[in-house]
Symmetry: C2
Subunit: 400 residues, 2 copies
Amino acid sequence: MYSLPWSRNVPVKASATNRLWRRCFSVTRAGASQLAGLDPSKLVITKTSTPQEPTAPKDLVFGKTFTDHMLSVEWSAANGWHAPQIVPYQNLSLDPATCVFHYAFECFEGMKAYKDSQGRIRLFRPEKNMERLNKSSSRIALPTVDGGALTKLIGELVKLDSKLVPDLRGYSLYLRPTMIGTQKTLGVGPPGSALLFVIASPVGPYYPTGFKAISLEATDYAVRAWPGGVGDKKLGANYAPCVVPQLHAASRGLQQNLWLFGEEEYVTEVGTMNLFIALKNKETGQKELVTAPLDGTILEGVTRDSVLGLARERLVPKGWAVHERKITMREVAEASEEGRLLEVFGSGTAAIVSPVRMISYKGKMVGCGLKESEEAGEIALQMKNWIEGIQYGDEDHPWR
Amino acid sequence: MYSLPWSRNVPVKASATNRLWRRCFSVTRAGASQLAGLDPSKLVITKTSTPQEPTAPKDLVFGKTFTDHMLSVEWSAANGWHAPQIVPYQNLSLDPATCVFHYAFECFEGMKAYKDSQGRIRLFRPEKNMERLNKSSSRIALPTVDGGALTKLIGELVKLDSKLVPDLRGYSLYLRPTMIGTQKTLGVGPPGSALLFVIASPVGPYYPTGFKAISLEATDYAVRAWPGGVGDKKLGANYAPCVVPQLHAASRGLQQNLWLFGEEEYVTEVGTMNLFIALKNKETGQKELVTAPLDGTILEGVTRDSVLGLARERLVPKGWAVHERKITMREVAEASEEGRLLEVFGSGTAAIVSPVRMISYKGKMVGCGLKESEEAGEIALQMKNWIEGIQYGDEDHPWR
């Protein structure tokens, strides 16, 4: 059972949008039958007969090249999780009436495996991804899974394809656990069968030649997520509708869109990343790192959580304040005008951090604290180095 | 280019939710390349070598049995629509990285073909489905399609499988045009390729032994759609999140859930149907048929439109008022208490109309005007007969 405590940590003032948050939205899990649990000891491996050679690192494109094998586990309402299989990477063959094609019974995770200086392969906080996968799947009546068992199986897949995990700094193996409903009827109801699969894509650094700050268009004509909706879950449903606003931003020369919410125009997410804002407090001058609170409209990003954790551990002792709080676009624009906006960056698994140069908002360009010669602010740089240090095992840390 | 004029026909009063509607949300189409248009003259038909015998009408289950063939048309950003094909009903073979599995690039239509008393097969207002399909696809950066050409191709499919179209009254061939993104990369962007397919399922009447009124649970803990969201489009994304609230309602013995919106608790949709409420005006006593306005959170149901059209044509002359307006759950409950609630019914392609007996709301059961011995109200009965009369060609009407 999980619930979304809408009011926790959310400062409430009397306003149109905020009145909506006061209601206690909460969706409890259903249809999350376990029956036979996922059992790694039953793993059957069928190796490819045509292993590939590693792609040259410079030719890697995010999510385009895949390794030789995939993990595949079927689930049925009658029998629970079937024996897991690692098989050669191959097409899925599905009846055209399968519910994943019609009603978006699908959720996924994004995580990476890193090769450290000793050639050992490491996952970064996989338990966070497993926890989120179960929140996502149960919200759409797909089964939950034992996160430890799935992590172990992912480890087996990575081990089998380990020669395809790039060993250069900034390179990694992107892992995509995906769960889809496979029932082949058009009635709308809880899927009686599902498929969990994991594919793996060797990827290079998001910014191969160093950071390149992006500019954003503040989107006020469409809304990504809302109270009582599913915007905090990693469902396929949240992604397709994001593309047209991205294309609009691109048509005006801006690399991504910034999602605002409500008449207050709260800053929520950037494209498919969480967003961080570093600014000086108007009254006290204290440096603050701010991100939107997990109020049910914000994806519970693992990188978001890592940035927050490191900020509390390493920036607070230096005098910073760290806040998960609602922040309006007007507040950001005002901080920019008054020279108090230090930096803005997105956070996500692909880029770790993604510095922002400017935000187009109501016909004006809001500068985000970078000098013309700079492509990243101090905090973004530091966070990338800290997080990579842990991911690649340079630093001993509980998150490895 | 289309836009969503949020304020049109929507009475606005100063309230939390209503302030949200005042903003002019509008998403213009993108990525809707036409290039080579859909060309029915290029149709290639490959017939099945194992034709099936019709299933006994009594054994038909909605969306479970399919005909011998399917229509399939590929699209690519480089070449537009490829030559359409009718092929034996078969599995789709797709790379596990295909974007439909990860980001819900998928939309669909629901429509029916009816066999009239002369054995001719008829579609009901297919142009409405085609129009909506294009609104749906372009909102998620999938291509649009010439509706006339697609209707013609659907006609060819129906003709080929015509012996599987049941010819009993209330029976029909349910048609499911579906469009999915088929690009096989994990980057989130406009799909460079897509597949349009149409499958067909012989179906019986929704209520084989006559109407059976359903009872609803008013859902106040989850929200289906939001201004600026995609709830008015027939996207897969809108369906998977509906199932858990349905299961919750079912666990309390109620057949469907009723979606409320905002702090006013506007009545919006029931499960995956539009909703109609017939009541007597508190002041004037005039009979009114009310349904939620197309403000961007309501699916533009073809049956909804048909019910409205027939009500204006045939009920208004009898003294009824027909309103597309916002109506709160409190207003419905008050009308019930005061004996002014005449009837409530859902509308959709599957059931045409679906009478409602009671709504569970804040711990009370709100009666919806039916006597204990009744399974449907007068208007629901009339609408079903009128619409079926047109669908089966008993009546000459512009909608055939």
